[in-house]
């Protein structure tokens, strides 16, 4: 899931506009409680309290151009009338809305990461979308995401009594070792893993099947 949090200075951006359309997200931002029905309604009311015109609509998944078109079909005039759209969704959704509407878009949320939900309000980053998954080799733990140095042949010298030098979490490479040992794959831990090819993710990616 894409984890988002509400932008703290959102209303500062809204100030100079009078007609505002708010689009929420029925998928990730709803689960994060940052862009669902309730949050869209709350924002619309806040904007109205600023003596401005505001309309809101939650789209099932604003990152999907087809869904966006389908869900906003009945709001064409309102969107045309609006001076600006506030996107209560991730950066992908906000850009899809911008492409779809040709309107100025204010991102209402900051996109944090691809994460696991433990419970509402507790999210953990688990994947950096590197495009070359090595989870099998590392016992189901991603070192690119979890190790602050992204080491493929860890641990580093900063590991102290199982702990990482950067945060107070357990060292990713100690956990990887323990997992592989449990699976009877200590030899895989001892292998040298080759340098990662960053060339694919150093420019914006496209995927056509």
């Amino acid at each position: 899931m894409i984890i988002t949090k509400t932008k703290s200075n959102l209303l500062d951006y809204v100030k100079k506009y009078n007609k505002i359309f708010v689009i929420g997200c029925g998928t990730c931002a709803t689960k994060c409680q940052t862009g669902g029905e309730k949050e869209v309604e709350e924002l619309v009311n806040k904007i109205k309290n600023m003596n401005k015109i505001a309309i809101g609509k939650v789209v099932e998944s604003p990152c999907d151009l087809r869904v966006l078109k389908r869900d906003l079909m009945n709001y064409k005039n309102e969107i045309n009338d609006a001076e600006v759209i506030v996107a209560l969704c991730c950066g992908v959704g906000a850009q899809t809305i911008s492409e779809f509407s040709n309107k100025e878009v204010i991102p209402g949320l900051d996109t944090l990461f691809i994460g696991m939900v433990e419970r509402i309000g507790r999210f953990y980053e688990k994947c950096r979308a590197c495009g070359n998954c090595i989870l099998y080799e590392t016992g189901g733990i991603c070192p690119i995401t979890n190790c602050p140095k992204r080491l493929l042949n860890g641990p580093c010298g900063g590991m102290r009594d199982r702990k990482c030098e950067v945060n107070d979490k357990d060292c990713t490479w100690v956990i990887i070792y323990e997992r592989l040992k449990k699976y009877g794959r200590e030899e895989d831990f001892k292998k040298i893993r080759e340098a990662f090819d960053w060339s694919n993710i150093s420019k914006s990616r496209e995927f056509m099947r």
């Binding site: 140095k149 992204r150 010298g157 102290r160």
Partner: protein, 298 residues
């Protein structure tokens, strides 16, 4: 085996080798580098030159190594971390170090950027220390960079790596150091260690030499420094008896020197007698004078 440095020559000849360390500063002055190196060269075969230690931005280790070698003749072991350079910059700096006559490189991951004095910097870690060692091996042995591009001329550098005999759990550390050796590290310098059993365990597993293992020691100038070291360095445990002696001798520098000479000459003698270590790497904080005293006491 091709030998490029005096340090490596001594190791291959079976000499018990001493090295020490100089830390460049956030400064454009060079006097302190030259003064320290001139003092150290009376006692050690080579001195390590640190690369932005604790992620603080200081004078380049390559430049400092060059200054030390050209002004004093003391051979250097130039530290190079993968924290601040991608593979392009690493290759470029290895070529540069080579041109400047640097013969020993110590490959280091590097403390994380957030621990230093520029914590908002982007940490690079394009490749890790093991991959850097492999890349270096190829540059030296095959005259090619990591992507098979040919290098004009020969790179004559020995590759070192670091290891921590204090690590807990120790097996992950041993397997990692083993990987670095497999990748092509010729010598290992260890984190500071006080405990002979940990030293033996580390060396027994890695079955030197080669690769040559130099054990890191740290004579403490005061009780306060001993406490700080224990707090800050991963897994370092300083014996209470030694610390108590330092505490009692607080303010009496002669007595402190005596305590250090006694403790470390015994430790070094034991290392020489019962392990296959090839030497000692002595680190201090503003306490260089003890280095000669310890070495002379052996």
């Amino acid at each position: 085996m091709r030998i490029f440095s005096n340090f490596m020559k001594k190791l291959y000849n079976g000499n018990f080798v001493f090295t020490s360390e100089i830390e460049p500063r956030k400064s454009v002055k060079i006097d302190y580098l030259i003064n320290k190196a001139n003092f150290l060269k009376k006692y050690v075969t080579a001195c390590n030159v640190t690369d932005n230690p604790r992620a603080n931005a200081y004078l380049s280790s390559i430049v400092a190594s060059y200054i030390i070698q050209s002004h004093t003749g003391l051979e250097t072991i130039c530290h190079m971390t993968v924290r601040d350079r991608n593979r392009i910059a690493l290759i470029s700096d290895i070529l540069g170090a080579s041109v400047l006559g640097i013969k020993n490189i110590l490959v280091i991951t590097g403390d994380h950027t957030t621990m230093g004095d520029i914590p908002n910097a982007m940490p690079v870690y394009d490749i890790d220390s093991t991959q850097f060692i492999k890349m270096l091996r190829k540059m030296i042995d095959e005259g090619k960079d990591i992507n098979e591009n040919p290098i004009d001329g020969k790179i004559e550098i020995h590759i070192g790596a670091v290891g921590n005999p204090n690590a807990n759990p120790i097996e992950v550390e041993l397997y990692k150091v083993e990987r670095k050796i497999k990748a092509g590290a010729e010598f290992i310098q260890t984190q500071i260690v006080f405990d002979i059993e940990k030293i033996k365990n580390f060396i027994d597993y890695l079955k030197p030499s080669p690769p040559f293992i130099l054990i890191g020691i740290f004579p403490c100038k005061s009780y306060r420094i001993a406490e700080n070291i224990e707090k800050k360095l991963p897994g370092v445990k300083i014996p209470n008896e030694y610390k108590d002696k330092l505490k009692k001798a607080e303010g009496n520098s002669e007595k402190i020197d005596e305590i250090n000479i006694e403790y470390f000459s015994n430790l070094i003698k034991e290392i020489k007698k019962s392990t296959k270590a090839s030497g000692i790497h002595i680190m201090t904080i503003e306490y260089e004078r003890i280095i000669g005293k310890i070495i002379n006491s052996l």
